[in-house]
Symmetry: C2
Subunit: 154 residues, 2 copies
Amino acid sequence: MSTHYVGTETETLILDTWIKLNRANNSIGHVLRHNMDGHGITMTQFGVLEILEHLGSLPLKTIGEKILLSSSNLVTVIDNLEKQGLVNRQNNPADRRSVMVCLTDKGKSTLKPIFQSHLEQLVECFSILNEDELKVLGELSKKLGLNQSSKAKE
Amino acid sequence: MSTHYVGTETETLILDTWIKLNRANNSIGHVLRHNMDGHGITMTQFGVLEILEHLGSLPLKTIGEKILLSSSNLVTVIDNLEKQGLVNRQNNPADRRSVMVCLTDKGKSTLKPIFQSHLEQLVECFSILNEDELKVLGELSKKLGLNQSSKAKE
DNA sequence: ATCCATTTATTTGATATTTAATTATTGTCA
DNA sequence: TGACAATAATTAAATATCAAATAAATGGAT
């Protein structure tokens, strides 16, 4: 924790920056969620499918850590995806406590066009920024994110 | 909608930027929410109190527009705040359908230290960025936010 | 080898949020 | 004026999420 005095001017700048950052994030999130609604899945479900596509089958626990979701919530998310036939549960030979979650063929073929559409929305959302601006925004965001996660360990 | 072809490289950059932006936002949001928990109110309740402090008494509908919350949800949020004696409902002489929500004295005195603590957390979260970086981040975020809201009208 | 703390998934109960339907009021237009 | 559409708050029903408690399996220390 820094000990130097933080003046009101800085506080105002930070508050202002936070409001803008949060508003941008929410606006984009809203666009993306609306798009997912049109495809009949939730953002959380999409997140699960995407990570399975990217990393292959994973234990339920691991998925929760990756997308920052409580395992109790994840159980129902996986339940719902399983009902739709997009994933299934399998035994984990390495540990009988754990459940491996796998993307089905239907899951894969369903995800593909949704991901494409998701990407299009995202490109549209960010079209107002040029390449340099994107890089700067990414770096500043990364700094912020890392700052929090380092705090979490203390 | 732009018609020019968006190459894979740009798509990757945008996806990457979004992930970082979203992660930063969520991390900070998590810190702030945790802080509010310690004060016994939710972020949404805090948002309502703050806007009432800032703009004075407002119709329920207007509050919902400001903090992007459905009015049905707002009803229960106001209910809960009213139970805690932090706000109360009053008639709106101008329109008998509408309900004016007012911050009570208890609401004001309760909000003050919470807001202070909130600000401290925020300063801590953003302490990794210097003044110039804060300004750049704010401007880029603002551009993004405005881009969405302009789209919403189309 | 056994006891015990830890880990994993699940169930249960609570809260937050949204959409749809309801009620009361307002405004409009024919 | 009177019928009807629009608006504001509310209620009801559904979903998402989390925290706490539970059950099964694992690993480690003695």
